[in-house]
């Protein structure tokens, strides 16, 4: 750091990016630095090499399902194998089969967060990942959650929103998380073929499921207050019937051919007939019916407003200036639903660079920025970092609802959270390398001109380098993306 970085440069690094890394050059022209990342896209480096894809996971799930079925068959005829029951337990089987993969997936994600040289693009990936939340709490979606971010989100953060939207809604993680795979049109051929015993639970589990349709309207496109009706939800759910993935045992293994895609349109499950959504009629065009609806939803002004609000809230302030939201929404609609013009409008807006523009770091922001600021190595396992997020209440890809994690300071500022941040700061202080810049130099690199006199004094008075790093990370100044 030759010269003092400007407050804007620090905002680019800290508020738009993932947090300053001491030793890394602070951008001279903050807007240009951000814009260049929009051109290049997120660079995951080598971190994702060697990870399995969703199709690999799906094939292995099929093998596990077949194995489990064979085991069940054996133990029902021959009860001597005492271990069969427990080892056939789906959770155990799953953990043994995918535990190491999940570790690698999480580790790669942490490695990218810690080392990324395109932190603005990386933040956008995470922004969209939270916008399209799936939760690993849903057992069947768990192994697909991180691949969804890699396969559906990362390649599409810079293009048209509808491409991002379609990629996500067709991904096994989302299809399973919001129960779309189970949704069957009540008048579909599949429903007709079902036995008439359908009463109680059986009737409910084999029919229309509105979960995905509701969240598409409420969270992924229009927004909750956009004035759509329950009928619109049901109509979208009907249009979406048939959007599914291969059933592993039946389709992949007994049927012979291994499916080449994770998405499968089941004509037989599709509800026949035209649909009417937001006053517009959509002819029955099979799989394309829902796609046509999603294309229109993506270009709806309410969607533009919804996306612009979330974006401005994420990058500028909990209550973003309405004029800024409008301009971002306008950029979206004027560009035929492209995302890049939204980002450009955002980073070129004066409101985005004003001193009062600041965001409280969510736990994920905090831990990532702390790792980067303290130059702590991610290590060989993601466990400590996931453990930290668990304690702070924001475990990766495990939100409590499809709405994702809150982007509002009030949600995160609690005494318990502050206390735990201090604990983590203390731990990172111990793990920050003793070589390299000392704590004061780190503080300058991390906070720039926002390093206030009091924090500086506290750092100077620290009893050890480790404690000084802890003070820096636990300081109020560090809790904000300023």
């Amino acid at each position: 750091m030759a010269d003092d970085p400007s407050p804007e440069a620090m905002s680019a690094v800290n508020r738009f990016g993932l947090g300053a890394r001491p030793g890394e050059r602070v951008p001279g022209d903050p807007v240009d630095w951000l814009a260049s990342q929009l051109r290049s896209g997120p660079d995951g480096g080598a971190a994702f090499l060697g990870l399995s894809s969703s199709i690999d996971y799906m094939k292995r799930e099929g093998e596990i399902a077949r194995l489990a079925r064979r085991r069940r068959g054996r133990s029902s005829s021959d009860n001597t194998d005492a271990g069969a029951a427990s080892s056939g337990n789906p959770a155990d089987l799953y953990r043994r089969s995918f535990g190491a993969d999940l570790q690698r997936e999480y580790l790669a994600r942490w490695t990218v967060a810690a080392n990324s040289a395109t932190p603005f693009a990386e933040r956008l990936v995470r922004f969209w990942s939270n916008h399209f939340s799936v939760s690993t709490d849903k057992f069947s979606a768990r192994v697909y959650a991180l691949p969804m971010e890699r396969e559906a989100i990362r390649p599409h953060i810079n293009g048209r929103y509808v491409d991002l939207l379609l990629a996500v809604e067709m991904h096994p993680a989302m299809l399973r998380y919001l129960d779309q795979v189970q949704s069957i049109g009540p008048n579909s051929r599949m429903a007709q073929r079902m036995p008439v015993r359908a009463e109680g639970a059986a009737a409910r589990t084999r029919g229309l499921n509105e979960n995905l349709a509701r969240e598409i309207l409420e969270l992924h496109t229009l927004g909750a207050d956009a004035g759509y009706s329950q009928n619109d939800v049901t109509e979208l759910a009907r249009a979406l019937t048939g959007w599914s993935m291969p059933r592993l045992v039946a389709d992949a293994l007994d049927g012979g051919d291994v499916p080449a895609r994770t998405f499968l349109y089941r004509e037989a499950a599709h509800e026949p007939g035209a649909r009417k959504i937001l006053g517009r009629r959509y002819a029955d065009d099979g799989q394309a019916q829902a796609e046509a609806i999603l294309r229109d939803l993506a270009m709806h002004p309410a969607t533009a407003r919804h996306l612009a609000t979330r974006m401005a809230r994420h990058f500028v302030a909990d209550t973003p200036p309405p004029a800024l939201v409008q301009r971002i929404a306008r950029a979206y609609l004027d560009s035929d639903g492209n995302l890049a013009p939204m980002y450009r409008t955002l980073i070129q807006a004066p409101q985005a660079w004003e001193p009062q523009a600041r965001k409280f770091r969510t736990p994920q922001d905090f831990v990532i920025a702390a790792i980067r600021g303290a130059s702590v190595a991610i290590g060989e396992t993601p466990r400590p970092w996931e453990g930290a997020l668990m304690r702070l209440g924001q475990p990766s890809l495990q939100p409590r609802s499809p709405a994702g994690f809150s982007d509002l300071a009030d949600e995160w500022i609690t005494p318990d959270a502050i206390y735990k941040r201090m604990q983590i700061a203390q731990a990172l202080g111990e793990r920050s390398p003793r070589q390299g810049p000392d704590a004061m130099a780190r503080a300058y690199a991390v906070l720039g001109p926002r390093l206030d006199a009091q924090t500086r004094q506290a750092l100077a008075r620290a009893e050890s380098q480790g404690q000084a790093i802890a003070i820096l990370i636990a300081s109020p100044a560090f809790q904000w993306r300023a």
Binding site: R383, L389, L397, I418, K420, M422, Q423, A427, A458, E463
Partner: protein, 411 residues
């Protein structure tokens, strides 16, 4: 509740973060040179006048006011001799003293005379007379002259004192759970200025020592599956719900050093000794932890005890007089402890300069009458068998004029 992510993640932070370097089975039988050295660094500046109160010094009570301790005080200190006592919380240490296994030294200091924690700690670790005077640590350079046996740092990152030519193993401690009260003190004025965070911080501080109860899961994940004493130690160290950290670390250190083919040199560090305010409370807690730490090591390594020297050392002492906030500020002459069966204890070593006003260094600190290097050199020479040339040239370069302090060890 999800099975994988939640449980595994909860089982982590501590042991998961630990790079649990399995101690190599070298297959060599313990040789004659089987002594053990453990350096315990108390970062922050231990107040010697509070840990080893010179109650017999005519100026002590006046200088210390409410912080003064004495064998007949309301909080009875352990009487060592006519001048010195041990802090009331140092009960196990007092027992060690009684059987001759504890040697307090007073008025010791580095050649460095500044009062910066960072610089002083750097000197204490680099082994020269000046901050940043060497890029490697004296303990590593000492290990370099001992053939065939590694050293061990029970720290998350390699401390300067053990950086250098010799390969050193680390065993990462579990994460600290309780927040260092000194850290809270430092943060308090900062949070007072942030109107969004001030209230939450104040409430967080109100829970003070309850930090342990925040974390209920057993944090030991990585240590499972090993049959060595280390694994047992790791489990103990990481359980830690009720126990403070230093004793747990010292137990692990004891387990390692007691191994027949284990390391001969170990290093443990602790934080939170910088007591500018509210010292009686903070040091009461810290000294209890130190006392438990001695006991934990002793319990873990009973058979190695007779061959062991523990050196508990801090970067500098503190002011002779208390300040206006119930604490003391950075000073010069410090107290330190040698403990172990190889120590000739049961007495107080070092030359006590007295606390008379005209004796104080710069009218405020206990003057240094013993160079710390003379203590280190004596232990390395007499206990670890290092030669004079190596000590004077490599381990403590330019220290030829500093003679080893004799009489510290049983021979």
């Amino acid at each position: 509740m999800g099975t994988f992510t939640r449980r595994h993640a909860l089982a982590t932070m501590g042991a998961g973060a630990a790079t649990l370097a399995l101690w190599p089975r070298l297959g060599t039988a313990a040789s004659g040179a089987d002594s053990r050295l453990l350096v315990l660094m108390l970062r922050g500046g231990l107040d010697g006048l509070h840990a080893v109160p010179p109650y017999g010094d005519p100026d002590y009570a006046r200088l210390r006011g409410p912080l003064a301790l004495a064998p007949d005080g309301s909080q009875a200190a352990w009487k060592l001799d006519g001048t010195f006592a041990l802090h009331p919380e140092l009960a196990f240490a007092a027992r060690l003293y009684a059987r001759g296994d504890l040697l307090p030294l007073v008025a010791v200091a580095l050649p460095y005379r500044g009062r910066s924690h960072f610089d002083a700690q750097d000197c204490l670790e680099n082994g020269t007379a000046t901050p940043y005077g060497a890029q490697t640590g004296w303990l590593n350079r000492a290990a370099a002259t001992l053939l065939g046996r590694d050293s061990l740092a029970l720290t998350a990152v390699m401390p300067l004192i053990l950086r250098g030519p010799v390969d050193v193993k680390t065993w990462s401690p579990p994460l600290p759970k309780a927040i260092d009260p000194v850290l809270l003190q430092r943060l308090e004025p900062l949070y007072g200025e942030d109107r969004h965070l001030a209230a939450a911080f104040a409430q967080a501080c109100a829970r003070k020592d309850t930090g342990y109860s925040l974390l209920t899961e057993d944090e030991d994940g990585a240590a499972a599956g090993s049959d060595s004493a280390m694994a047992a130690g790791a489990r103990t160290a990481s359980r830690g719900d009720a126990a403070p950290r230093l004793p747990a670390l010292m137990k692990v250190a004891g387990n390692f050093l007691a191994l027949p083919d284990g390391p001969r040199i170990g290093f443990v560090e602790d934080y939170g000794w910088d007591t500018h305010a509210n010292e009686a409370l903070i040091l009461g807690r810290k000294l209890r932890e130190l006392d438990d730490a001695f006991a934990a090591f002793y319990d873990a390594a009973p058979l190695a005890w007779s061959r062991t020297v523990i050196v508990a050392v801090t970067e500098f002492g503190r002011t002779a007089a208390i300040n206006g906030t119930g604490g003391t500020d950075h000073g010069t002459g410090a107290a330190m402890f040698l403990a172990g069966g190889a120590v000739r204890g049961g007495r107080v070593a070092g030359q006590w300069p007295g606390l008379a006003a005209d004796r104080l260094y710069e009218q405020r600190d206990i003057p240094a009458t013993t160079d710390l290097r003379s203590v280190f050199k004596a232990i390395l020479a007499r206990h670890m068998g290092l030669g004079e040339a190596a000590l004077n040239e490599k381990v403590f370069p330019g220290s030829g004029h500093i003679a080893p302090l004799e009489g510290l060890l049983r021979t």
